[in-house]
């Protein structure tokens, strides 16, 4: 799986996985997330605009990244979720757990206000 990475103003980093997020592809996303978190980049946007499908292994990866980012004083915000991905989130209650935005710009603005620990 291809995972795009972009540095934005305000120490915010956009991560955009491309394709299905299932047990096959999740390790590639986890590697990118682990590298970002190891570099103490705790304000992460995960842009799901190119993700048409997410399985429980993908949900788990997002949850782990969120926990680690919050431990570092930041957060993980999600954006551009498809209807299918939104449906999966709602089934398990993740829609009320994550900060979810329509565009990366809205997510970046919200994250830039997050005070680092």
């Amino acid at each position: 799986m291809n995972v795009l990475q972009e540095s934005l103003p305000g120490q915010v980093y956009r991560i955009a996985p491309q394709g299905r997020l299932d047990a096959v592809t999740v390790p590639a996303l986890e590697r990118v997330l682990d590298e970002q978190l190891a570099a103490r980049h705790f304000r992460l946007i995960i842009d799901l605009s190119e993700v048409a499908y997410i399985s429980s292994s993908g949900l788990r990866a997002l949850l782990r990244a969120r926990r680690q980012a919050q431990s570092g004083g930041g957060d993980v915000a999600l954006c551009a979720m498809s209807e299918r991905v939104t449906e999966v989130f709602e089934m398990i209650g993740f829609n009320t757990l994550f900060r979810i935005f329509v565009t990366p710009a809205e997510a970046a603005t919200a994250l830039a206000k997050t005070v680092p620990a």
Partner: protein, 143 residues
Amino acid sequence: MGQLEQLIVPGRFDRLTEIAVFVTQAARAAGLNDDEVFHVEMAVDEACSNIIEHAYAVQSGDINLACTCSTTGQLEIVIRDSGQPFDPVEVPPPNTDAPADLDQLSEGGLGLYFMRKLMDDVRFEFVPGQGNTLTMIKRAKIE
């Protein structure tokens, strides 16, 4: 009884896409709508991921999928493996009131939750010497 379609693939993660294409086609042939086809795809993906990760954790083997499409808008999927026995009773259900802690749950627990949520019927059976048989049914909504 309706039409039966079968797919046998090695139980490996790199075969999940092939499995998804197979069950998606079967679900459409059964007359399920787009939402229902997606539910079938996800339930089967979770089921087969669990088989690969757990049943075939030690020894590898095949996944045998058999789809029966009935003319009454019902799809029955039977998934067989010859791996370690799976007992759903031993898998604790996720606490959906505390979604922040769901990554602490065993991998199979979350997948099983989705399978039950997405399908109309989910049954497990283990027969020594034969392996696990998972039967899932999805019925088309009457519109």
